[in-house]
Structure formats: structure tokens, C-alpha cells
Amino acid sequence: MVILEGRGLTKAFGGLQAVKDLSFALRDGEILGIIGPNGAGKTTLFNLLTGFYRPDAGRVFFKGENVTGLRPHQICKRGLARTFQITQPFANLTVLENVKIGAYSRIPSSPEATQEALRILGTVGLYERRDELASALSVGHRKNLELAKALATRPELILLDEVVAGLNPKEGDDMIAYIKGIREQGITVLLIEHVMKAIMSLCNRIIVIHYGERIAEGVPEEISKNPKVIEAYLGEEYVLGRNQ
Amino acid sequence: MSLPGLPLLLQSIVNGILMGGVYGLVAIGLTLIFGVMKIINFAHGSLMMLGMFTTYWLYVFLGLDPYLSLLFSIPCLFVLGLLIERFLIAQVLDAPAHNQLLLTLGISLFIENFALFLWTPNFRTLEVTYLRKAAMVGTVMISLPKLVAFIFAIILTILLYCFLKRTDMGKAIRAASEEREGALTVGINLRRIYYVAFGIGAACVGAAGTLTAPFFYVNPNVGGIFVITAFVVVVLGGMGNFIGALVGGIIIGLAESVGAAFVPGQLKQFIIYFIFILVLLFKPEGLFGRTSE
């Protein structure tokens, strides 16, 4: 079953075409990766899917429903959660409060929301830091918090924007394990990543975006050999498969 | 609400343009500060008031011609602005914007009420005797002090424009306001840019105060009136936009003056506030967009 579908999505900012006639389909239960050079339009795509931007043209379907133009909170309520590339914690609130706010979207009662938040913090390894202020966390822990907040909304589909990038190898492995765990819970995952190890080990399928257009799609092995993909990455700093 | 006749309308238009030039000068200082530091300087009006009082006291104690006192008010306000930025504003450059606004609000409260304490709430006036006679052009009476203020305002604006375009410091200021990170990498001393820019902004509004003193009353609370008008002009012209501030000033000057012809008493201020809210809601980038010049 197709859980998320983008049809002909287009978005320009001033003279800059960020996303151009982009279409894709995401099947229930799979992990789909989106890769592409910096500035290719990946985060713009996420913003279009989650209601932060309105597409100039094209439509978004979630669980068969046309959700184009809905506000972000409405999309979250329907079961689509996201993380932000640059983490957006509630800085002056504690880690626990941060996640509890996510939990409130499904659980109106304060004590129950607290319980749920504590449970989720446990699954991402932040339980010990629950009373620390979010602003005091390291980058790695912030990424975990970002993930925890989104998970607290009990999504059916989660959009992860570069959650592995910027982590040290150990943290990165942990994060990959968390994401696998998410899929095991039955949550579909759409992820943007630069870290090839994560992409290769997690994704069932990969879509490659360049200058806002889809230039390739397929299973990881195919993509890594695709000449168009390699060409798109020529001149970029990072190396395919750098983390061994 | 009686409709004004043509002579009154023409008079309003002329007055509006003349006053608009002064508003432009006030606004240019404000927009420069915003463009460079992203700070909304609520204390701007109180600085103008200080410019007015500088001129007033020099006139009362030394008999100094108000226009000559520009030589004092400009550097004095420049230094004051520099000090305010260096010691107060600089502390909150990374704070949330509403906190920055609160700081400048606090500064304005302090300055205005300190002035009130020192100089009492009495309304004072000063008169430039050689400009007492108004010029008549057809049916329109042109107040000479207002005309002189307008001319000086334009001159100072042009001087500032040349400064920003031609001098190294000016270019550095423009660079810092357009691209802060880039300016840093080129080795521009951002700290110094900030207090110079603030100083210039203060100097502009101080000059505006000096120029206004001959035809407006002098009083510690006068800043409050001008500061909101300055905000409206800046928002209308586009925050950080130099040309916008001047054009916006003239538009607001006209709106206020022509509006006063249609609408009784205090309500002309009402029009200004109303325009302010409308622009904030529906066209916050202003008429000319938020660029800096």
C-alpha cells in the first residue's frame, strides 16, 4: 500500500527552482532514502510534504488523502512526523518536557504523557538526561531528542532529515539501530542522508535528487553504480562509503 | 468633517513634504541601525529630544544660532550613540528580538525621564529671528524654519549616502549589514562597525532634533511622538532600506499633513498608527523591500 505520494511537486523561491516536477511513491513499511548533493532540494521536499511550504504545483497524498496545503500541525495529527536538519529543540525546557509536548498530541493527560515521554526517552538513550535543559545537550544527543519528539506523536510515517550526519561513528551506529527499531515497530521511514553507511544499511530503495529533479531510483546496489549519480556527486567533498 | 479647499490642500502638501524630509532624516538613522544590527532602536526618539535640548541650551546660554549648533549636536549625539551601543546594546546582540526592544525601551524611559527630572515638563520654544517672516508662494505660506530644516535634511542625507558609498568605513558598514558572515571573513571589525553605525544613527536623529527645534516645541516627552512616526516610516520604506526611509518619510509627512486637513486634532496621529498596523500586517517588507543600501 502506498502511504505517501508526491505528484509533480514544484517549488521555486524567487528565481531559484528548488524542486521541479518531482514525483515519488513510498510504500507502507519500507525505508526510502533520499540522497543528492547539497542544495539539491531535499529539505525543500520535506517542507513541502509536511506543510511548511506550499507547492507551486503538484500534490501530496498521505494514506490516500490529498494533504496538499494543510498546515504542519494538521499533517502531524494525521500521522506524519518529521525531524529538522538543524535540530529545533525547545531550548529552555527540559528533555522530558520536550518529548512530553510531542506525546500530548495523542495523550491529553499530563501524567500519562509524562509516562509515554519517559518510555520513549528510554528507547533513544536519553532517560538519564531527562531533567537537563535541551540547550545543554551535545549535538549527538540533540539528534536523539529530535527523534524522540517526533516519535512521541505516534506517527505512521516519519521523515528523518539528516539524523546521522554530524554524529561520531558510535553515535551513528546507535542511530542506525534506532531507525531499524522504528521500522520494526511498523513505522514507515523516509530519510534524507549524506552518510552512505546509513543509507546503504537501512534503505530498501533510494531516490537521487539533483537540482530539484529526480535523476535516479532503485535499490542501493544499483544506485551506487549508476553513472548519473556518480556524476552528480563529482566535485563534492565527501566520499561514497566513507565510514568503512 | 468639512472638506478643505484647494489652498488649504496645497498648504498641507507643502508642509507635509517639508516635514517629510525631517522624518526621513530621523528614519534614516533608525533604518541604518536596523540594517546593520537588526536592532529596533526604541530610544531613537529620546535621542532626537537630546538633540533638540542641546540646541536649546546652547541658544539660551550662549546665544548660539540653532543651525550652528549642528556642529555640536551631531558629534555629541554620535558619541552618545557610540557609548550606548558599546556598553548596553552590545550585550544583547544575541538575545531574542523582543528583549533587545525591551532594552532600548528601558534606555528611552531612562533618558526621557531623566530629562524630565532635569529640565521639568515645561514646554519651551526657541525662535530664529531672521527666519520669522514666512515666504509666500501664491497662496501657500512656506515656513522658513521648516524649509531650512528640509534643505539641511536633504543635504545631510546626501552626505550620509556618499559616506556609505565612497568611504572605507561606509563600505564596511554596508558589507556588515548585507552579509554579516562574509564581512567577518574579510576581516571587518564587526564590533567597531556596530558602534559607529549606532553613533551615526544617533547623530542623524540628533541633527533632526536640532533642525526641528526652531519650529517645534522643546520638551522631554517630544521623543515619544517622533519615535512611532519613525517606526512607521522605516517599516513603510522597508527595514534597512536607505532610500525607502527618505521616500517613506515624505509619504508619511504628506499623509499626516493632508490627513490633518481632513480630520480633527489628535486624530492625525491616529492615521499614522493605523498605517503602521496595516503595513505590519499586510506588507511587512515595506514598499521597497527589506534591503539595505
Binding site: 500530548y104 498530541s105 | 524630565l116 489628535q266 503602521f276
Partner: protein, 325 residues
């Protein structure tokens, strides 16, 4: 701090404080009753402002708009139509609420935030003040005076300050309780989320527009009711006392000083500010505006050195201590 021992201790403190406040008027002369009533009053105003400003993060520089609308509504209804001031108080709150919803829906719909929202609110308050000036110049050049009806709870007027003291104490306590309830529930957390990061809040299913409007509704209603109290306390209002910038500043100064986003911050701030105000008034006599100079100094000092206010600063220090050991 949520252990039963902690909670019992809190309740004990509240009860003891309550009792002290209740019997205080019997030990104080009229001047001090007035002073403490004013502390309660500005504390109340600050608590009302704090719901929108400190919790939801939308700083308004123009709360005088609601205050004045409240004061004028109840006063005019009373003077012209003989409406009982208690009913007038409720209607005043409604009037403030409606104004708040109007300006709120416009502002939040069009994304007015931070300093722009603050200034728009200031402009709004000034617009009301100017309208009042215009309207009153002819009809009420000396302001509106509420006719004396003697000592009467029914008419919300008393010869002694003491009944006002109790009324204001009750209002402040009610507002504090409301804030406390909000803080512990979903709505309070949602306010804070919007304050901290509105986009992130939206991504977690929070309808920011709706909650900001909710905060605005509570804040404007309470502030307007405060306006009625003020009118009944002084039995006189004019455009300056009702819509003046001073009220807007006093509404926000308590919370900023005491700690925006905390329950007791506004009251703590109000206490300090009123104390300082009175002291300067006594020391420096009738010089107008000296207390405003003090306000300015407080603002400068707090924003630079204690941006979280006193309670915020204490919280930070406490955190550092319990960690750094």
C-alpha cells in the same frame, strides 16, 4: 520537586502566606493597605500579561488597550445606563476579550511576531488613547467620575481601602491559580512550546494560531477586568490613566523583573517595583516621571544581566549548583 513531601510543604507555605495576607490589613494603616493593594493590583496585571507574554512568548507593549477598554466599558455603562459595576466588570472582561480576539486573529494570521507584534500592540493602545482624547475633550474634559454611592459592596465602592484590598487579593490569587493550573497541563506546555520554537511546535501537532489566540483571550479578559477594578478604586478615569503607555509598561515590567514564564514572577516583580516607586516618590517628592526613570533602569539592568528575571536567574543558578558540585 513533585514528591508528596514537597507538595505538602508548598501547600503549607501557601496557607501560611494566605493567612498572613488576610490578617495584614488589621495591622496596617491606610497608606500601607493602599500600597499592598497596589502591589496586588500590579501583580495581577503582570500575571495577566504573563499568560500571553511569558508563557506563550508573545510580548505585548500595548496591554493598556485592554485595560482601558475594560475601564471605559464598565464606567460608561455604570454612569450612563446605571449598569451595576459587577455586571459591568464581567462585560468589561468580555469587551477586552473581543478586542483581544480581533487583534489576535489578525496579528497571528498574518504572522506578526516578536518586536513587530509588540509594537503593533503599542500602536493599538495609542490609537485607543487618541480616540479617547478626542471623544473626551468635549464631553468629559476632566475625565469621567463615578458618582459616589457610599460604602457598598453592591456598588463596588468603599470608603475604606480595606475591602478593595481583599477584592484585589482574591483577584490576584485567582489569576495565580489559573496560571498554576495552566502550567501543569497540556495547554501550558503548548504555550511554552510555541514560545520556544513555533515551527517545531507545529511539527508536533500544535495549532499555534489557536493556542496563541487562547492565551490572548485569557490575557485580554483578565487585563480588562483589572481596568474595572482600577476605575472603581479611584472612582475616576481619563484617557491617560486608562490607555497611557505607563500601564502597558507596568504590565510587563513585573513579569520581566520577577521572571516571565513563572507563576510568581509577576507578583515578585510587582512587589519590588511598587516598593521602589514609593521610595523614590518619597525621596524625590513631586518630580514627575522619576519612577519611570527607575523602570527604565530596571529594564536595562534585567535585560542585560538577568534576562530570565529574578526567578529565572535563581532557576539557572540552582541548576548550575546541582550539577557543578
Amino acid at each position: 520537586m513533585n514528591s508528596t513531601a514537597g507538595r505538602t510543604r508548598n501547600i503549607l507555605v501557601i496557607i501560611i502566606t494566605g493567612v498572613i495576607l488576610l490578617i495584614l490589613p488589621f495591622f496596617m494603616g491606610g497608606y500601607y493597605v493602599h500600597l499592598v493593594t497596589m502591589i496586588f493590583f500590579f501583580g495581577y496585571l503582570g500575571v495577566a500579561w504573563n499568560i500571553l507574554g511569558g508563557y506563550a512568548g508573545q510580548f505585548s507593549f500595548g496591554h493598556a488597550a485592554f485595560f482601558g477598554v475594560g475601564a471605559f466599558t464598565s464606567t460608561l455603562l455604570q454612569v450612563h445606563l446605571g449598569v451595576n459595576p459587577w455586571i459591568g466588570l464581567f462585560l468589561a472582561g468580555i469587551a477586552g476579550l473581543i478586542l483581544g480576539l480581533c487583534i489576535g486573529s489578525l496579528s497571528f494570521r498574518y504572522g506578526l511576531r516578536g518586536p513587530y507584534f509588540a509594537l503593533a500592540m503599542l500602536a493599538l493602545a495609542e490609537m485607543f488613547r487618541l480616540m479617547a482624547v478626542e471623544w473626551m475633550t468635549v464631553r468629559y474634559p476632566l475625565g469621567i467620575t463615578i458618582p459616589l454611592k457610599g460604602d457598598s459592596l453592591w456598588y463596588f465602592q468603599f470608603r475604606s481601602k480595606v475591602p478593595y484590598y481583599y477584592i484585589m487579593l482574591f483577584m490576584m490569587a485567582a489569576a495565580l491559580y489559573l496560571t498554576h493550573v495552566i502550567e501543569g497541563k497540556k495547554i501550558g506546555s503548548y504555550f511554552k512550546a510555541i514560545r520556544e520554537n513555533e515551527s517545531a511546535a507545529e511539527a508536533l501537532g500544535i495549532n499555534a494560531f489557536k493556542y496563541k489566540l487562547l492565551a490572548m483571550a485569557m490575557s485580554s479578559f483578565l487585563t480588562a477586568v483589572g481596568g474595572t477594578f482600577y476605575a472603581q478604586y479611584y472612582l475616576h478615569i481619563d484617557e491617560e490613566s486608562a490607555f497611557g503607555v505607563a500601564i502597558s509598561i507596568e504590565a510587563l515590567l513585573g513579569p520581566i523583573l520577577g521572571g516571565a514564564g513563572t507563576v510568581l514572577g509577576p507578583v515578585l516583580g510587582a512587589g519590588i517595583i511598587e516598593g521602589l516607586s514609593e521610595t523614590t516618590r518619597n525621596l524625590l517628592g513631586g518630580y514627575s516621571g522619576v519612577h519611570l526613570m527607575v523602570y527604565g533602569t530596571i529594564l536595562i539592568f534585567v535585560i542585560i544581566f538577568l534576562p530570565g528575571g529574578i526567578l529565572g536567574g535563581l532557576q539557572t543558578a540552582f541548576r548550575k549548583l546541582s550539577r557543578g558540585g
